[in-house]
Symmetry: C2
Subunit: 151 residues, 2 copies
């Protein structure tokens, strides 16, 4: 259990197994619930990011950074969402290489329909039973991990 050993302590392992298991089961549960609105969890995240942005549009790269997605994943996903009329791409006049991703009226409508039930489920599953102190610790821990992972 020394710091030099590569192994996880028993307590760390316990936390890690929950983390790994949730990495599968929580997205699966949210996806199942979102299916009713015809959206996937990925669709939802894209639509939230775009609908919050100025003028409801973001450069593709900025959107990728905000979601912490790889560019190619986002590119594929935008193509599929474009096919379903949820988003559109527009060319960028400032920078000929770039492109804007824009949420359409249909995309806005879809997310407004889906959002309340989704938010409620997230609260039920994750947040409602947490104390303020627990939430603060959780946020700090996640922020720290994220900083290390994304560097």
């Amino acid at each position: 259990m020394t710091q030099d050993s590569p192994w996880l302590s028993a307590a760390q392992q316990q936390a890690w197994r929950h983390w790994i298991a949730l990495g599968t089961s929580l997205p699966a549960a949210l996806n199942r619930a979102l299916q009713e609105s015809g959206l996937s969890l990925s669709d939802y995240d894209v639509l939230v990011a775009l609908s919050e942005a100025d003028d409801r549009r973001l450069r593709v790269g900025d959107l990728a950074a905000r979601l912490a997605w790889e560019r190619s994943r986002l590119s594929h996903h935008l193509r599929r969402m474009e096919g379903r009329g949820l988003v559109a791409r527009e060319e960028c006049t400032d920078d000929g290489r770039g492109a804007w991703s824009v949420v359409t009226a249909a995309g806005l409508a879809a997310i407004r329909t889906a959002a309340p039930a989704h938010a409620r489920l997230v609260r039920e599953l994750v947040f409602d039973d947490l104390t303020t102190a627990e939430l603060a610790v959780l946020t700090d821990v996640l922020a720290g991990v994220r900083r290390r992972v994304e560097s």
Copy 2:
């Protein structure tokens, strides 16, 4: 911010965005590192579960439960791992419907090679900077969420 509104509070949203982003970026980082050993993170999780089991074998359903995977996902994954010689399936004499999943010698060798660097990376990214108290809170929170999600 009332409990009746479906929306997440600002503090909850902050935690939630980190959670969502990590759900993508942490597995991606671990996968990238594991690639050197020719294993994916999913392979790794399967091999850990099997190599810890009695006689290095588990019923397919028990393995699925332990990993919190859907059965069909595991079935597909075992087929692919079997093709690479990491695991084998054996028929179950007790219950003619069932099947055992077993780690092969090659599978054991692969995970023994991969484990130290993987464990070290998990510790670096997730655990090394946590206090004992933070770890305890994290474990409780994850355990609670998991219980609610998997019911």
